[in-house]
Amino acid sequence: MQAVQNPEYPKLSRAPIVEGLIDFRLRPLQPITLEQLSLLDAQLNASYPIKKNIRAIEAAFNIEAEAGQKVLSTEHFIGYRYESEETSFIFQARVDGFTVSRLAPYSNWEELLSETKRLWEIYSATVKNTTVVRVAIRYINKINLPGSAIDFDEYLTAGPKIPEGLPQGLIEFLTRTVVPFDEYKALLVLTQAYRPDQSSSSHLPVILDIDAFHEGAYDSVEGEFWKILDDLHDLKNKVFFAAITEKTLGLLK
């Protein structure tokens, strides 16, 4: 089935976005500390009243303790997660980066970008002297395909394939494709997944996860990376509409 042909990206009244996020990775002049990040609390309290620790899951470091030797901790707290009252916006301030997520109901790119800029101003003023070395956007879509037994090729232009001659029914799939886009100077990770434990009798939920990122070195104050985010967003749209058929578009308009 052919991908959506309209190059002007139609407006979707039932957009399937469950999360849109913007992520920066940083190279600080000095390591960023949790104490520094705690300074954000006072500036965020009103708009992000819920605060949680972010713990990194690392390989365990167990060193046999001998007399005089220190046993290293196996836990790493790497930042804080702030949630807005309605939990539609989530802001993660970490020692290695910064992520702003907008959960459903997603409104538009301008809202996510605007809130990211506002939070970045606060974050970068607090941690200071950092270089942005990776910028990414990631959009996770959940598309509910109608029915209980469907042909995925009617809805996805690059859906799962089972070799000919074998039974063509499947009960789950997970595909991941990494594609370079030289004109955007970006890599894009396209993940498609379906798992039966989420399905109901009336629909089958397919996840379409689009993660586009660009690596470079950008001054955190001058902000050349904002233009790159707009480009990545454009790339994301290109990929999304290329991944779905006209039949799927009809479900979302």
Binding site: V18, E19, L21, D23, R25, L26, R27, P28, L29, Q30, P31, A56, E58, A59, F61, N62, I63, G68, Q69, K70, L72, S73, H76, I78, R81, I90, Q92, R94, V95, D96, G97, T99, S101, L103, A104, T131, V133, R134, A136, R138, I140, K142, L174, R176, V178, V179, P180, L187, V189, T191, A193, R195, Q198, I207, D209, D211, F213, E215, A217
Partner: protein, 172 residues
Amino acid sequence: MTYAASPYAYSHPNSWFPPSYDYGASQESSVIRNAFTNLKKQLNLAATWQRKEEFLSNTLEALIEAIAKPLQYEEESAQASDYAIREATQLLQALPEGIPQADITMEPSGAIAFEWYKDEKNTFVISTNGTGSLEYAAIHGTGNEMHGRVNFAGDFPRTLNNLLTAFIDSTP
């Protein structure tokens, strides 16, 4: 037609835990994360994948030994910071397939160094100190020396991918 683009022109995305995946906040992002975690567990049932996990486990043990050593000589050298240790772990997990285990040592500054040594004229060293960049230095034959610094955000940098792979593949 789908074809394989040259992987060496780009940074090597961490195959199982791309950086963005760790920080999704929605339930659906957890579904994706768990799907890859479960996939990894299933693959580890096969001896081929167990070898890779064993390799990673051995390398992490070597890392632990290396960072424990300077504790005996605190007045002479700085301890590795939590940031450096975390970055070193990420680096080990990001190394491309086929790269042999490096010798791991502590530098007096507290940085953690990974060295691949063939002989005195063929050595490659990468070091990390937890600030999101990797420093590298290499001698690759008489008169052929290189050094530099690259950003590191979890994916193995393209520059190092090219240099280190070429170094490993070459005969001294």
